[in-house]
Amino acid sequence: MNTEDDKLYEDDQLSSLYEKIDRDMPPAHIDAAILAAAKRKTSRYSLPYAPFSNNWRVPASLAAVLVISFGIVTLVEEELTPMDEVAPLAASEAEKVQPRIEMTEEVMPRKLAKAPLTAPAKPAMSQPSIQESTASDDKVFSQGQLASRNLDIARTEQQRKNKQATRKLTTTMTDQAPNAIARSLDASTSINGTMTTGIDAETTLPYWQYQNQGISIRLRQHHPDKIRRDVVARGFTNEQVDRIAQSCAFHTELKNLSTNEQASDIVYNIKEWTIYHQTKRVKLKTTEESAALDISAPTGLAFKSSMLPTSHNIKSGDYQSGLIVFDLTPTSTFTLTFTWQQFGEQHSVTMPEILCDE
């Protein structure tokens, strides 16, 4: 409580003037991330498949995190050129693309070896089906040098889990900037989007999807063995390959679902996206930062061109996709908050408790 003495230190004129200064507020995506974190602490979000809800997973995850102790997010390409089309890096080059481990107090990041991956630049194209995407995966698999027994084992395990995932968990998420959109869309439509998670039929790995009238955002995990196959012959050391393969990779796909009548571009910038892992914010590593690494020219160019663009304008009916690799321990969970602009408004949606499968 303010005392009479306190009033001696008040200056009404300055206070009045101070109130005229712009009332800066935190960005919407930060609001969303914090509120999601708060909600997470009071509710037990469970995935539809039982194995991940076993109690032993928690200490196992914590132990794994303690061992690894680093977390950084980086982006790598989605589609990987068959290895026989890529000149392997010399050992010296491979060392160059393996930056020194750096750690900060905030996020304890570890920079990953950057896979000098090659893929043709993705041309603007009509929205593909998920089946088309997974078919591409299968093609890469058939060309891989490590069509390994481990993959078979992993898939068998996933199929077992899949049987337990008898239903998809559907929750309703509120778009963070809904009012203007609601006005711009059919008044009878809901402004809420739908969050869905389950097991991807093709990859037998978990997926997370958010969809509203204007956008669809889908994340599905990329199998570690597939990543391993794709980088092993590119000049990386075994240790580097292992490190990359043990990262959690997710294919991210953004589709613009706005119709011709209400067509509106989606504009996103991944610098505005936030990730929380164990209450710590993890920054996304942008394409530009990754490309700045000393990767040999052919692979470096392909690496850059194949990554999810840092920012992009997605036209109505079009899509953008790319692979995001989170250097988190398998079994880790994290929260990812997407932000984008559409219908002249800033939007934000948080996908909570995304799990990186083993």
């Binding site: 009332r23 507020m25 509710s43 914010r281």
Partner: protein, 180 residues
């Protein structure tokens, strides 16, 4: 419902209570961190850390302290940690501000346009204050805390806060004199 009850409600699992609490204080805390750090990205980082700490500490929350005091105390400590990490702990936190003779220059009642210019100038003047004085001024304006509470937040005495605030107000008035 007051802040303390909202926090207790959140501790009991009421997410809406937290949202209410967050919306009440997010602006003040954010501006405090923004104007103290002078950098938007840093402010965002610190801001999130502060609220995550609040969330994580909910189980041990006791109403013995005023919520606002607790909140800004966490923000202050996080800011000091940031200064330490960047190897620039402001000396103004250790120094007793030099006292001064009260300057009674009055701000004119001016047009809205001029008022806006004054506000912009004030922001610039605030940024030029030593960190400790700026903190006292910002806490006073943004949190509405008493001098005693501000002293608790800053981990110092009430007399020190009085001195910092007096000096800050004087400096701001002097800085704004050109616009009169």
């Amino acid at each position: 419902m007051n802040d303390e009850n909202l926090m207790l409600a959140y501790c009991s699992g009421d997410n809406a209570a937290f949202e209410n609490l967050y919306n009440r204080h997010k602006g003040g805390v954010y501006r405090y961190l923004m104007r103290q750090s002078g950098n938007e990205a840093t402010a965002e980082e610190l801001f999130q850390d502060v609220w995550i700490k609040i969330i994580n500490a909910r189980e041990g929350y006791k109403t013995s302290a005023k919520f606002t005091t607790w909140l800004y105390h966490i923000a202050h400590n996080r800011l000091i940690d940031h200064y330490r990490k960047t190897n620039r702990i402001p000396s103004s936190y250790d120094e007793e501000p030099i006292d001064y003779i009260e300057d009674h220059c009055q701000l004119d009642v001016v047009s809205e346009l001029n008022r806006k210019r004054q506000a912009e100038k004030l922001l610039s003047c605030i940024s030029q204050l030593p960190e400790a004085q700026r903190e006292s001024f910002l806490l006073k304006e943004e949190s509405g805390l008493s001098l005693m509470d501000i002293a608790e937040v800053a981990g110092t005495s009430r007399e020190t806060i009085k001195s910092r605030l007096r000096y800050a107000l004087h400096s701001l008035r002097r800085c704004l004199r050109g616009l009169l």
